[in-house]
């Protein structure tokens, strides 16, 4: 068993969770703040935007080292 590769793969197990949760956290936050400041739906959309940026930023950061590692192994 290639332990290094297994470890890299393990990190990718959390990808789906990460994307779902980061979207959810920021959207729910936006909806809540909209309720507080009664600015419906502006902050919800801002939350969605930030959530997407955080989701894809994190996705990139998690996948990149895995790709680098796989390429290294192929060489």
């Amino acid at each position: 068993m290639n332990t290094g590769l297994v470890l890299v793969a393990m990190r990718l197990l959390g990808l789906g969770w990460y994307v779902a949760a980061s979207l959810l956290i920021f959207i729910v936050g936006g909806v809540w703040l909209d309720g507080v400041f009664s600015t419906k739906p502006i902050l919800t959309f801002i939350g969605l935007g930030i959530g997407m940026i955080v989701a894809f930023g994190g996705l990139y950061r998690m996948v990149k080292p895995a790709l680098v590692r796989v390429r290294k192994d192929e060489k």
Partner: protein
């Protein structure tokens, strides 16, 4: 494949299996009570509610302790069966930790990673022995309805379970809800139906209620998995802080160095990466908790449904699958703890170095 089917050695067992399978599906439908997410306490110790999942956890700990103590009581240079089994498992885990995290860190992480792995494994495997979830106290229908109504459930949404007055749940239980009405074979009855036909059911020697098992797979309780996730997270943060120092470690999340120097572009990126790390940390807790909980709970429900639909032959396959999934889930939980521990003790630059090439 098809050619080998025509051989009697293959064909006869297959045909018998198929016949049993169909007969089971028609005549032997097992009881089906889908377990709820909320678990009633069995008893209380000084106001601390003891649920059946907690007892199962104690059982898992007792089994681990028992095996450990028995194996280590008279250690031999040439190990006997139990001792060599334990040695294989422990050495395997230790080697895994050391190859992944290096010799020193590996030995540091090993106790927690191995404990989590072994505990989850034994809890999962103990959850599929016969008697778990099927032997317990019966909560009478009135009490169950009362509890459910207190939670704001409507009468027709309350699911009760048909059983004989002695509290047994036989295979193929049939009953009628009213005089001369058509026969039911379902094991589940709603609170409303029970209210209407309580006396009639009594005349048939039947009653309804809820079964609160003495034992229930430990990981089907979200409290267990959340506790494991929190323990794992606390250790990971602790290792990170002791390895890098408090301020360096926290610098992962709150990185304002470039911003303070006046480099706004890089500074904003650093702050953003800090947010990513922080969200990642939160998500990890959630994913650890619900991955194990979801798998265990789904496994429990799957076994019950298979028992209900095809009680012959098929459950064996399902049990085998559950054994496999139990091991996989334990491995994943342990390995993820190890992976995050390694990431926590790695200095910030290490991973970045990789990314820039």
């Amino acid at each position: 494949m098809l050619a080998s089917l025509s051989r009697p050695r293959v064909f006869i067992p297959l045909a018998i299996a198929l016949v049993l399978f169909i007969l089971g599906f028609i005549f032997l439908k097992g009881p089906l009570e889908i377990p709820g997410l909320k678990i009633e306490p069995l008893f209380r110790i000084a106001n601390y509610p003891v649920r059946n999942t907690v007892i199962q956890q104690w059982l898992a700990m007792a089994v681990l302790l028992g095996i450990g103590i028995t194996a280590a009581r008279n250690p031999d240079m040439v190990p006997k069966r139990l001792q060599s089994l334990v040695e294989i498992v422990v050495e395997g885990l230790l080697n895994l930790c050391q190859t992944a995290a290096g010799r020193e860190n590996g030995r540091r992480f090993f106790p927690v990673v191995a404990t989590i792995f072994l505990f989850v494994l034994s809890a999962n495997w103990l959850g599929i022995i016969p008697g778990v979830g099927t032997v317990g106290v019966v909560i009478p229908a009135e009490e169950a309805i009362h509890h459910a109504e207190e939670e704001g459930k409507h009468l027709e949404d309350i699911h009760l379970f048909m059983m004989t007055e002695g509290g047994n749940i036989p295979f193929g239980l049939t009953y009628t809800l009213e005089e001369g009405g058509h026969e039911h074979t379902s094991y589940s009855i709603s609170g409303e139906e029970y209210h209407h036909s309580e006396e009639h059911l009594e005349r048939q020697g039947l009653t309804a209620g809820h079964l609160n098992g003495f034992l229930r797979p430990a990981n089907t309780d979200v409290n267990t998995t959340a506790a494991l996730a929190i323990i794992s997270a606390i250790f990971v943060e602790f290792w990170g802080i002791t390895a890098l120092g408090f301020f360096t470690y926290m610098g992962k999340f709150f990185n304002f160095k470039a911003l303070l120097k006046g480099n706004i572009g890089m500074g904003l990126v650093d702050v953003f990466v800090g947010i990513l790390e922080f969200v990642g940390e939160l998500v990890r807790l959630i994913s650890f908790t619900f991955r194990l909980f979801g798998n265990s709970f789904a496994g429990e429900v799957l076994i019950l449904i298979i028992m209900f639909l095809v009680p012959v032959i098929f459950p064996v396959l399902t049990y085998g699958m559950e054994l496999f999934f139990g091991a996989i889930q334990a491995f994943i939980f342990g390995m993820l703890t190890l992976v995050f521990a390694i990431m926590a003790v790695t200095a910030h630059g290490g991973e970045h170095g990789d990314e820039h090439h």
